[in-house]
Symmetry: C2
Subunit: 336 residues, 2 copies
């Protein structure tokens, strides 16, 4: 018993094509790459025919070795289950594909998988550039500079020395969201954010409140997940000083907050209003639909790959403005 297609079936190479078409390997190259030398139409046809017959496809590894680049970008994301990163991945893929690049995306939510090792892994695979969607720490920065591969930070929240980055204006975004809640007349506005070092969004929340002469409502930090948001929501509901509105720093967590409120029998937005951050597609289909501060993911992704494709000397930080998407969870009712 043998394999189904009995043929030993070595894949056809440039040399096979050349032999079949009766030309030199060089000419095959010229035809395939439409250059750098011109090829006579008749010869060209013969080569094309040979390629068709032999089912020839150029070996990407050989080409990469010779010309020194792979036409692949690496993408590092924290958690590919987060709808925001899902959306980011989508637009990144579309843009990269449009430029002829494929994406290797690695996420480091697995065990023993941190950002730095993900970066090194990608470097080994000779990607032409990397897009890192994570808060960078020192080891990460070291990994980036060591590997010597052009990298752009996305979803980064402030300038980082020596590495170009693009990210949303978190501070203004948070203020916009909170201000909308204030506009609705709320005076006790809570906050749900990630664990870890204090976030710019939290500052935005606090500053918006202060500017309006309000004091900060209760805040809860939780894991960056639906579950985390759920736990945080429960905490806020049980708070002695239960807020009448909550600003959540991500859609991902907001979904969990919504669930906590529903389970507690709290009417949204009448008893507690919610505004979140990100503007991912999932936010449109929660109940009630989330009013959310939207990041311009597509634009940011585009700039990120553009910066990889056509590197400029500048390594500055592009800060993108956010946009408030008004739906129902804030109390604005159905759109007209």
């Amino acid at each position: 018993m043998d394999t189904v297609d009995g043929a030993p079936a070595r894949r056809a190479t440039r040399a096979d094509v050349a032999r079949y078409a009766g030309v030199s390997p060089a000419v095959v190259s010229y035809t395939v790459n439409a250059g750098p030398r011109a090829v006579a139409p008749a010869t060209r046809e013969r080569v094309l025919e040979a390629i068709r017959v032999l089912g020839y496809r150029p070996n990407a590894a050989a080409r990469a070795l010779k010309i020194g680049h792979t036409k692949m970008f690496g993408v590092v994301v924290p958690d590919s289950g987060n709808p925001f990163f899902v959306e980011l991945g989508r637009v990144l893929e579309h843009t990269a594909t449009a430029h002829g690049y494929a994406l290797i995306v690695v996420n480091f939510d697995g065990p023993g998988h941190d950002v730095a090792s993900s970066i090194r892994e990608l470097a080994l695979r000779q990607v032409d550039g990397m897009i890192v969607a994570a808060q960078v720490s020192m080891p990460t920065l070291n990994a980036i500079s060591e590997c010597g591969i052009r990298t752009v930070l996305i979803n980064q929240f402030s300038a980082v020395d020596g590495v170009p980055s693009v990210g949303p204006d978190l501070y203004e975004g948070a203020r916009t969201g909170v201000n909308h809640l204030i506009w609705h007349g709320h005076t006790n506005i809570g906050y749900v954010g990630e664990m870890g070092p204090p976030d710019v969004r939290e500052r935005g929340w606090r500053d918006a409140l202060t500017a309006a002469g309000l004091t900060a409502g209760p805040a809860a930090a939780a894991a960056f997940s639906r579950e985390g948001g759920y736990a945080a929501g429960q905490k806020l509901v049980a708070d002695d000083n239960r807020p009448t509105a909550i600003f959540v720093s991500s859609d991902f967590q907001a979904v969990g907050v919504l669930r906590a409120l529903h389970e507690a029998g709290i009417a949204i937005p009448d008893e507690i209003a919610v505004v979140s951050f990100d503007g991912s597609p999932e936010a449109e289909y929660t109940w009630p639909a989330l009013t959310t501060v939207q990041q311009p993911v597509a634009e940011m992704a585009e700039e990120a790959v553009e910066r990889l494709v056509a590197p400029t000397a500048s390594d500055d930080f592009s800060r993108y403005p956010t946009k408030l998407i008004v739906r129902q969870s804030c109390g604005c009712g159905m759109p007209a």
Copy 2:
């Protein structure tokens, strides 16, 4: 003005390491790959030191060219925005990483991007294997056999000639879901499914009904998206013969159905109960939480990768049983 790091900085190669360590290139190879020849401890140390100093990392393209494989798998998915495929991608990545493979995932929801061309694109990049998560058609099958790359079909619903595949038992799954609704006492059970050729789940829905002596409720086909589900939900709500329960063929669409019901002011599950299919993480956080027929994504992904890593001769179809996850949308109330 020059680049920040003035060095021309050619990346160190095996030859540089050899020179620095005062050994031959071969020895560098032996050290790096721990074989196939042994290296004297002292020499080994010298080489390691040189590698460290020079920041040497082997060139993956050259290695791939030489040994003939890339340690990369290609993954083809229809829509990376669908939470089911998100989850699939996650587990696929974890399993593949565990086996030392990286993933290039392409999705063909973009313009001019069909399955066949995605497959060819991956073939060009010399992936060692492919996982295709799509209903395959003739052109797809042709693309697969032409490119001569080991492929396993995942999320496939029946055996396909000559290509190994793994998928859930859609028919039994659908019956399970519908039977649960029947158990709840419903007699008018509607269906929401994808556009296109009639689906096995639809048959499961119909057969379960028939077996219980019931007639099929209204059915609506819609785009495979949240929006599609929303539209289908609206249609069913407006139906002259409005069902008291709906079986939705995917969580993705069910989210939209839920929204349509909420907007129509219909109580879920009291006025209309809902059971869906897939069991993606998102389904746990809808309101009310979706009772759903869960696919064993992790197991299926694992088998798919395993079949690529250690190809067996068999090209059969592994059908996985599904599991009913009871939550609230069916009428079962809060868990104890």
